[in-house]
């Protein structure tokens, strides 16, 4: 049965789009049929991170308004044949999305895909509430930083009250994904630890993505982190998270960068 998963956070810039692309590609690499849907109307970026920005013809709003068919708006990934993208509109504003229209599209996507990953915009306005509205599961992307944790708490409250599942008296299955984590700084007491975050948010952990240059490098070339360099620390962390989404039990750990000998000697970071 299809699963609708929203990738959300409240706060901007914590890694929702990066995580949507990486988790989507990771699930597709495991053989699942996946669509990633950009809900950030007016500020779309998932197409850019996925490297499909020049192939966008129709978008989510066009489909909601009946201007285009769903099949016309879906873009198939060039690297993975079972990965698709439904882009957001860049020119319209978020009010063009309606609850009923989104419900119709999600219902349609459910018949065609195993996973529907909804990339939420930042904030708690219409775009964010509609991205989570029909979710079965939620990944709350959180940085080890006070403002991000506070916003995640707010979003958790919304997932428990404003979704269709919550209104039916059911629960959206929630997971915390910690990104930009620096285990050195956490050990020195300079950064909130994993335990601190989980205790405060009282929500199970899906994965820990280490702070890494590979994330920027992947977005620079328009490739999900898991595809761009599968051996990199963040890619391995995302693959572990994907396995947990698929129901596997994977030991929780923070993958570390494998630095080359020369880099280590010179203390230099490859750019």
């Amino acid at each position: 049965m299809a699963k609708v998963l929203v990738v959300t956070s409240g706060k901007g810039g914590v890694g929702k789009t990066t995580s949507t692309a990486a988790l989507g590609a990771g699930l597709a690499q495991m053989g699942e049929k996946v669509v990633v849907v950009d809900f950030d109307v007016g500020l779309r970026n998932l197409d850019l991170v996925m490297g499909a920005e020049r192939r966008v013809v129709f978008d989510l709003i066009n489909v909601v308004q009946g201007v285009a068919k769903l099949s016309q708006a879906l873009i198939r990934d060039k690297r993975l044949e079972n990965l698709w993208l439904l882009p957001a509109s860049q020119t319209r504003d978020k009010d063009a999305l309606t609850d009923e229209g989104v419900g119709r599209i999600i219902a349609d996507l459910r018949t065609k895909f195993d996973w529907i990953l909804c990339d939420s915009p930042a904030g708690i306005e219409r775009g964010a509430t509609l991205a989570m509205r029909y979710a079965d599961e939620a990944v709350i992307v959180t940085n080890p930083e006070v403002s991000s944790v506070r916003d995640s708490d707010r979003i958790i409250g919304m997932l428990d009250s404003k979704t269709v599942k919550a209104e039916r008296g059911e629960r959206v299955e929630k997971h915390i994904l910690i990104t930009r984590y620096d285990s050195g700084r956490a050990a020195r007491g300079e950064m909130l630890s994993i335990d601190d975050i989980l205790e405060i948010l009282a929500t199970p952990l899906l994965g820990i993505i280490p702070e890494s240059q590979d994330v920027l490098r992947a977005s620079n070339v328009g490739s999900p982190v898991t595809l761009n360099n599968a051996a990199s620390a963040p890619a391995r962390a995302y693959v572990d998270a994907v396995r947990r989404l698929m129901g596997e039990t994977v030991t929780m750990m923070v993958p570390v960068e494998r630095k080359g000998l020369m880099n280590r000697l010179l203390g230099r970071r490859a750019a």
Partner: protein, 92 residues
């Protein structure tokens, strides 16, 4: 180990401060979250009970919650029209 590092660097760890500030703040915000609905419910039920005995203007019933550091107060302000005694006599 961490304490030793701190002694050497002369810096205090800021993460425990972050954690404590968050815990206090979120305890407060989570309390506020359900509140509008709670107040609406209280207002409706108080109005229903009082209306059984007194004819009231629903607009004149105000329910307010003040949150203090140690205790919170629930303030109920009901404006009763002057015909109050008569309407009660009818009810009894």
């Amino acid at each position: 180990m961490i304490n030793l590092l701190r002694l050497i660097s002369g810096r205090t760890a800021s993460a425990p401060v972050a954690r404590e500030r968050l815990q206090i703040l979120l305890a407060h915000e989570r309390g506020l979250r359900g509140q509008p609905e709670l107040l609406g419910l209280l207002r409706a039920e108080i109005l229903a009970v009082v209306s059984r005995h007194v004819v009231l203007d629903p607009e004149k019933v105000v329910v307010r919650m003040e949150r203090g550091k140690h205790v919170s107060t629930l303030e109920v302000d009901i404006e009763v029209p002057n015909g109050f005694e008569r309407s009660r006599a009818v009810a009894v």
